[in-house]
């Protein structure tokens, strides 16, 4: 069913899409940049390409990939095709943390901007609370997980609303902008840390992809086919939450990718997680790089929130895929 040839064809095509986006999108922008001049170290091409655009494109690639993968993991965990990286509350936990930092005017904690740090702390607290409530004794059930996550989500959203309501005019504007989500350039050090973490996450998901297949069918099904159910569910929850939290803290919420990329890929490569995990990461990353390029160039010099672009570009494509009624390429 998944032999090596089929695996490498699918993953190779997805990786090619990711790499092409990574190679092309940094060269597109409101000012013309030539790669040859930038490579030769000429100003301002060098600064624009390597200090501004490339870090931003890299972040978009990592963010899109991580969010699509988190969607795959949560959909398998909850056996719900409509689950997103945001279903289980970790995103609103991160958002609440970030909003607190904005409201109290915190600038920096250590070497990092306070918004990132506070967002990560908010996400971490949410994760601990959800795991603590959802794992009664030694068993974990996806139903309790879902209810707990949705409730925590609602509580955090209420907190954000309250803080937003009491915030001053400037803070209020910053909060709205942050909640729209957006990709910014950041230091290569931050990107290196992020890349390491996300690469580890992708690795775990690939190793567990056989078991994800079982889990996406049923808990009884998985438990009698060699899976230690509670630990697999915990790994899935932590993995999806970690991917979502690290991206949300840096970019704010970016919707649609985690829902639509896995679905589109299921129509193309099928439901097998051995294919779905790596292709979702690559296609999600490539897709967000393209969306962010449109977002920063279409109305230059002003920008469109990238979340607007993901839905506006991805939505019609997805509906076309749905209408074309194409069966899986591999089935």
């Amino acid at each position: 069913m998944v032999d090596r040839r089929r695996f490498w064809t699918a993953v190779g095509a997805a990786a090619l899409f990711f790499l092409s986006a990574l190679a092309v999108t940094p060269l597109i922008g409101s000012s013309d940049v030539a790669f040859s001049r930038a490579w030769a170290g000429q100003s301002p091409d060098r600064e624009i390409l390597f200090q501004v655009r490339l870090p931003r494109v890299l972040l978009a690639g990592l963010a899109g990939g991580a969010l699509a993968l988190a969607g795959v993991v949560f959909q398998a965990l909850l056996r719900d095709a409509l689950a997103t990286p945001y279903t289980l509350g970790v995103q609103s936990g991160a958002a609440l943390g970030a909003v607190i930092a904005i409201c109290f005017g915190w600038r920096a904690i250590g070497a990092f901007p306070a918004v990132w740090f506070s967002g990560l702390v908010g996400a971490a607290i949410t994760i601990m609370v959800v795991v603590g409530i959802a794992s009664e004794g030694r068993r974990m059930s996806s139903f309790t997980l879902l209810l707990t996550g949705v409730t925590i989500n609602a509580i955090c959203m209420a907190g954000i609303l309250f803080l937003h309501y009491t915030a001053g005019f400037t803070e209020s504007f910053t909060i709205v902008r942050w909640l729209m989500g957006g990709i910014e350039s950041m230091s290569y050090n931050t990107l290196a840390i992020l890349t390491t973490g996300i690469a580890a996450g992708v690795g775990i998901a690939v190793v567990k992809s056989n078991q994800l297949n079982l889990l996406s069918v049923g808990e009884d099904w998985a438990a009698t086919r060699g899976v230690h159910l509670t630990s697999l569910m915990l790994i899935c929850y932590l993995l999806g939450s970690f991917l979502t939290a690290s991206i949300t803290a840096l970019t704010g919420p970016i919707g649609f990718i985690g829902l639509i990329v896995p679905h589109a890929l299921r129509m193309v490569v099928g439901a097998d997680h051995r294919l779905l995990v790596p292709t979702s990461f690559c296609v999600g990353g490539g897709f967000l790089m393209l969306c962010d390029t449109v977002a920063r160039t279409a109305l230059a010099p002003s920008e469109i929130p990238v979340g607007v672009m993901t839905a506006m570009l991805g939505g019609p494509f997805f509906i076309w895929l749905l209408r074309s009624g194409r069966r899986s390429l591999w089935a």
């Binding site: 069913m1 069918v217 009884d220 438990a223 086919r225 060699g226 899976v227």
Partner: protein
Amino acid sequence: MTLVYALDGVRVRLGSAEILRGISLRFHEGELAAVVGPNGAGKSTLMSVLSGMREDYEGECRFRGVEISQWRKGDLGRRLSFIPQNVRIEFPFTAEQVVYMGRTPHCNGLFETPEDREAVRRAMETTDTLPFARLDFRVLSGGERQRVILAGALAQEPSVLLLDEPTTFLDLKHQISTYVLLEKLAREGICVVAVTHDLNLAASYSDRLVVLSHGEVAADDVPGEVLTRRLLNEVFEVDAEILSGPNGRPWVSYEQPAGQLPTQGRHPW
């Protein structure tokens, strides 16, 4: 016959209700045992203990000499296969992919080996499911799905096969062919335990009938000894005639006792 399961005084409580009240049973290799009983008798709960999914039971449930809760899940997955009632799949897996999932406990690494492929092909041939191997599992009929699930369990190459109502959605031909297959598997040395509501199929093919009632074992013997008018009346609350079936096994013809028939044509609600 090698002993596979030894249960002694197994009790399961769910909240304040006691679902199993001290079950003691033995299951052996090469044996096809049918577990029957009215709704709520504890059949599915018994299966959840046997399959190793439930660890909050009291008493002993030894699987090949070791308490089932002590087994590592991977080791259990290579020895034991469980077919739950009613498998619903949310995602577009093909029938063949569902069967391949049975190979997961045997997998080293990501990809299938030639042995995996051969095991899957054989399992699908045996269950008559090859014609729709490439179809989306969700478009199959209830009976076809059930056969695909059975194929998945066979591909797992277990030495113990546990089934929860394997023939519910099957047409007559496949009900019989499923039991013929289960009987054949038992003859090959597998320990087969099937929960069912079809007393006649169970009586025709199984070596043993285990009757559960209110969480206790009401009877456990060869079908000819178990199926009596008295037992059917007490446990299943039906009036029954025990006839002789074509292969000399008992054949039960039953109806609800006259006093309990619902009022015809006029419903109390």
